[in-house]
């Protein structure tokens, strides 16, 4: 695949999606590219479905990635991975946390959470990598670092030096959480077993 320029991060409001794309966009800029990111704040933040786009290039125009042009979809929750899977390009990658957060209609029994998630995701991409980021973050004793695990996993797919990712990550998280976020990043960067 050509260089990864267009990344879509999705999940459930409150999971730290916006912080994740802040980090990615700043890494892109610091690596010497034009970069843009876009999301919607407001109502969706209250536990709704959230998407945030990050792009880099010589000159980036639209802050939004076109459907079918997402090179890496990073999903912080399983159902949200499926909701946005159609955005992925031919040859694109889906990197998702198999964590299940049931939406209200599922919790109340009116709807079913999809069971055959990984199978359905594979219809959209030949490269589907589950990364149990929430579980790894829990082991570290801080579930807020779920996003740092996924950033680590994403970084392992890209050509940008780890030192830059780590430096930007440290500047973006609260001072008392720097160490645990670095550990989370390290776990993430070893999480993808390629060719599997």
């Amino acid at each position: 695949m050509s260089r990864i320029d267009d990344i879509l991060v999705v999940g459930v409001g409150g999971q730290g999606i916006i912080l994740a794309t802040d980090v990615i966009a700043e890494v892109f800029l610091r690596a010497g590219h034009d970069a843009k990111k876009s999301e919607v704040h407001g109502m969706a933040q209250r536990g709704g479905s959230v998407e945030s786009h990050v792009r880099r290039g010589e000159e980036v125009h639209s802050p939004l990635i076109s459907p079918g042009a997402v090179q890496v979809l990073v999903a912080m929750e399983g159902l949200e991975a499926l909701r946005y899977a159609h955005m992925v390009s031919r040859g694109g990658i889906i990197l998702y946390d198999p964590l299940e957060i049931p939406p209200l209609a599922v919790a109340t029994g009116q709807s079913q959470y999809p069971e055959d998630l990984s199978e359905r995701l594979s219809l959209y991409s030949a490269k589907v990598y589950p990364v149990p980021a929430f579980a790894l973050a829990s082991e570290l004793g801080n579930t807020r670092t779920q996003n740092a695990v996924l950033i680590g996993a994403l970084a392992s797919l890209m050509e940008i030096p780890d030192t830059l990712w780590r430096e930007v990550l440290s500047r973006r998280v609260p001072a008392r959480a720097v160490d645990v976020n670095q550990e989370a990043f390290a776990l993430g960067s070893k999480a993808i077993v390629r060719g599997s």
Partner: protein, 592 residues
């Protein structure tokens, strides 16, 4: 690009305002405008007063005062806020400024967080003032400075229009130099300019027309090929020419990279002569604009031939929408979205003090006139107990209207309104209920903050725009002052008590108010309870699930599966303990 930093459009507007020497900044929160004042306040610029007003009308009036007093002033609001501020705006335009005044309107095409998607470029034509529209954060920063210059040079308030995609996208910004107002501070007593009674207003009305004439000449002057021009001509291939601006410019560039572009930085008034010239240099001329056909209408009226296109008039544009309407290129191949997957709408947070109120209302046949805030989510299943939502403050007036139209035989009418919304425009509605002998029961959801837009202070919150302590108004005495003597204050987590008070207020002859007092669970002052647990008594009846709490779910897919509580999400509000008919949820608040 290393000297650049990534800023959101809103942060860039705040930076531009700071670089323009803004001394007073006011506004009322509203997505997507809110972070502008927050960023200015966070900047801790000692010379700048930053404050939230109770509503947009007051915010603009404070701004007008500050401008007349000779201080550069920024006023911010969301698109519908300009409706509220329209009254002062439509007359302030006659008066002109002393020091510059820039009014930021942040529009929401696509209605991500709004009740409508009105296109506020129309206000520029309506108020006969210029409107500037940035296409990214760099322009947002630069255009605030340009807007202040125009405001002072042409003696006019200037509108700066952002949209969700500008305000909430981050793009690189390299800030320019600081500019300052050349106006000396001080209020000039000149009634012919500042007292808009008919005799004086007639004179100023003429001045507005003269100003419009000068502005039309000015926009021609700033239309050329220079990169820094506010209206920029970008000649490329001459087959297709596109008139565009704001975020639509980015979509047009992406969809048709070879097309020539006339980029509108000033969206009104239009540089007709410059556009005629551009039209003459391209074979086909399109207009690519989001929402209304604002430019197209103006250009057709000026006799410029525009090629019709099938661009959507509803919702946001995108590079794909522009590609589909204007080019043969089909873009990347796409898949169909996954079918039959559950939706995930926003929900009231676990522990939200609004939840129990709607749970109780759901079990009554009352007509519930609602309002705007987090609590509007009470209209969605499973709570489903709000039956109107129009605009901020409308709940009380609409409730009175329903009651008057149907008379005494109809079910009781209840208005539900948040604290910030009540201060914004609910007070007048309540005085109307009192004056017109209404029976409406008004429920004020006092969570001590403006939660929906991210916890901004208001007169009932106890903190200001800098999060410093602020004087706090007492609802009970306010409501009594508005004429309603039947006032009850209740705890949102005591369902039985609320149920009794609600019945009592609905039966009461005359207007009544219930003040529901409990801080938003996301505030540091919120006081978490102990987390209950579900015992083996649970029969899976689902009564607790009707609370719509994200912390509750069934343990399996079986229709009668037992319920479990997610301890990571639960705040211990104990509403589920109270609603369980089998006393199967045990914790604080359980029957002893």
């Amino acid at each position: 690009m290393s000297e650049h930093t990534l800023l959101s459009g809103n942060e860039a507007i705040a930076l531009g305002a700071h670089l323009s020497g803004v001394r007073v900044a006011t506004g009322y929160p509203g997505t997507p405008s809110t972070e502008i004042l927050e960023a200015l306040a966070a900047g801790d610029h000692d010379e700048t007063v930053v404050q939230w007003s109770v509503n947009e009308k007051v915010a603009l009036e404070v701004g007008i005062g500050a401008s007349l007093a000779g201080r550069r002033t920024l006023v911010t609001m969301k698109h519908v806020g300009v409706n509220v501020a329209a009254d002062p705006l439509m007359t302030f335009t006659y008066m002109g400024v002393n020091a510059g005044l820039v009014l930021v309107t942040a529009d929401d095409p696509g209605m991500h967080s709004s009740q409508n998607e009105q296109d506020n470029r129309n206000y520029a034509r309506f108020a006969k003032i210029p409107v500037l529209e940035p296409s990214d954060s760099q322009e947002a920063c630069d255009m605030v400075q340009a807007a202040f210059e125009i405001s002072e040079r042409y003696d006019t308030p200037v509108l700066l229009r952002s949209t969700t995609r500008i305000s909430h996208s981050k793009t690189p910004v390299n800030p320019g130099d600081r500019t300052e107002s050349r106006v000396d501070p001080g209020f000039i007593k000149d009634p012919s300019r500042t007292v808009m009674m008919p005799a004086y207003a007639r004179g100023r009305r003429v001045a507005v027309e003269e100003r419009s004439e000068k502005l039309r000449a000015y926009v021609e002057e700033v239309s050329d090929a220079a990169p820094s021009s506010l209206n920029r001509v970008e000649m490329r291939d001459a087959t297709v020419g596109i008139i565009t601006g704001g975020i639509a410019y980015q979509y047009a560039r992406e969809a048709l990279p070879d097309a020539s572009i006339f980029k509108m930085g000033i969206s009104y008034p239009l540089p007709i002569a410059a556009i005629e010239d551009f039209a003459g240099r391209v074979d086909r001329l399109y207009v690519v604009e989001e929402l209304d056909s604002f430019w197209e209408t103006e250009l057709l009226a000026a006799g410029i031939a525009i090629t019709p296109s099938s661009l959507p008039r509803v919702g946001e544009l995108s590079a794909d929408a522009v590609r589909a309407a204007l080019s043969a290129d089909t873009g990347p191949p796409t898949h169909d979205p996954a079918a039959d997957i559950p939706v995930r709408p926003p929900v009231l947070c676990p522990g939200c003090p609004h939840r129990g109120i709607f749970y109780t209302l759901r079990r009554r046949r009352y007509t519930v006139s609602g309002d705007i805030g987090c609590y509007t989510l009470g209209a969605l299943p499973p709570l489903e107990s709000m039956h109107t939502c129009i605009c901020m403050g409308a709940s009380i007036g609409a409730a009175l209207g329903i009651e008057k139209a149907l008379g005494e035989e109809a079910p009781p009418t209840v208005a539900v309104i948040g604290d910030s919304t009540f201060m914004h425009s609910g007070m007048t509605g309540l005085a109307d209920v009192f004056f017109n002998r209404g029976n409406v029961t008004t429920i004020i959801l006092d969570n001590h903050t403006t939660a929906m837009t991210g916890h901004q202070g208001n007169p009932t919150a106890g903190y200001d725009a800098h999060l410093a302590d602020a004087p706090r108004l007492d609802f009970e005495s306010l409501v009594r002052g508005l004429g309603v003597q039947h006032v009850k204050r209740i705890d949102p987590y005591d369902l039985e008590h609320f149920d009794a008070v609600l019945t009592q207020c609905a039966d009461h002859e005359g207007p009544s108010v219930i003040v529901v007092e409990g801080p938003c669970v996301l505030l540091p002052t919120a006081d978490p309870g102990t987390i209950p647990c579900v015992s083996d008594q649970c029969v899976g009846c689902g009564a607790c699930l009707r609370l719509g709490c994200p912390a509750l779910r069934r343990r399996g897919t079986d229709k009668r599966a037992q319920v479990s509580i997610n301890a990571d999400l639960c705040t211990g509000c104990a509403l589920c303990v109270q609603v369980c008919p089998y006393s199967a949820i045990v914790g604080e608040g359980a029957d002893s």
